[in-house]
Amino acid sequence: MKVNGVPYPAPSDHRRLLSDHLRHDLGLTGTHVGCEHGVCGCCTVLLDGAPVRSCLMLAVQAEGHEVATIEGLAAVGAPLHAVQQAFHECHGLQCGFCTPGFVMTVVGLLRQHPNPTPEQVKEGIAGNLCRCTGYASIRRAVHRAAELSQQ
C-alpha cells in the first residue's frame, strides 16, 4: 500500500487494524485512536481519496490502495493545507486529539460538497466527536476551508 504517496511493505500481521498499522508499524502517530469502534471519528484517513475509519479496516485490506493521513496534507515547513489553515484561523481545535480525524473528514466533505450548506456541514461532521470546542468553531472552520480552497 502507499501511504501519503510512499510505498510500504505489506503488513505482516493479518489481524492488525489499519489504524494500529499506521501508528505502530509505520510510526505515523498523527492518526489518533479514540473509541476503536467507529463512533468517535479520530482515526479517519483517506482511502483512495474518500474518508474512512482506519479502525474499521484491517491493514491488509488497504493493500494495493492509496492511504492519506494527516501527515500527508502538508510537508513540514510548507504552508498548511486549506483545512488545517481554516481550523487554525477559526480556533477549530483546543486539545487537538480529535483534530486529525476532523481535518481528514472535512477534506472528504469538501470534495463531495465544495460549497457546503450549513446543514451539509452539520451532517458532514456529525460522525466526529469533539469534547472541547462545542463544534461552533469547527463549523465555522469548515466554511472558511471552503473559501480558502477556492482562492
Binding site: L17, E36, H37, G38, G41, T44, L47, A50, P51, V52, R53, C55, L56, M57, L58, V60, Q61, T105, G108, L109, Q112, K122, E123, G124, A126, G127
Partner: protein, 231 residues
Amino acid sequence: MLGSLEDAKVLAGGQSLIPLLNFRLARPAHLVDINRIPSLDRIYERDGGVGVQALARQAAVEDSDVVARVCPLLAEAMRLVAHRVIRNRGTVCGSLAHADPASEIPAVLLALGGHVTVRSARGERVVPVGDLFRGVFETTLARDELLTEAWFPAVPGAYAITEESRRHGDFAIAGVVRAGDRLALFGVAGTPVLADPKQPTQGLHPSADLEASPEFRLHLVKALTQRVFAA
C-alpha cells in the same frame, strides 16, 4: 470456500463486523474478505427495480443516478445510515445480511417487497424479503451462502422514510418507511415488520433500553406513521 471453513464470517464493508471483532464480541475462526472479487459492485436497473450487488458501497448507492431515478426511497434512506464516512465502506447487502433490527435498509427492502439473491457452491437461490429475516441479527441464510445481490422494486407512488434518534447518524430508536400504501417499521421488534398504516402499533411489543421505554417507542411509531402518510 464458506462451506469448507468451520466458523467463517464474510467481510464486506466491515462497518458492523469489525467493531464486533474489536470488542471481541465476535470471534470467528475465519474471515472471508470478498472485497477483491472483481465486478461485484454494480448498481443497475433490472426487472422494474434496482439491483445492488454485494460490494456496492452505501455511498455509491446514495450518489447513484439509477437509484435516484428508479428508487429514490433507497437513496433517501442512505442519508440516515450512520455517517458518510461509514457509508464510504459499508455495503447495502452487508446491512441486509447483518440484520440489525434498528437498521434502515432491511426495512426499506421489506416496505418495497424486494428480494435478495444468495449463492453457494450448491447453487443460487432467490429469497423474498418476507423469508429473509429470522430474528435479531439473524437471517435464514445458510452458513455457506453469500448474499450476492439485493433487488429493490421501483417505488409505487408516494414514499418516505423517517426515524427518531438522539443525533443524526445514531441508531434509530424507532423508524418508519412508507412505500405507496405499505408501511414497514424498524427498531421496534426483533426484525423489521410490516404494519397497517391505520393501526401501526397493533401487535407490537417493543423492548425497553437506555434510549427509550416500550411506551415511548409505540408513541414514536404512531407519530412517525402519521407524518409519512400526511404528505
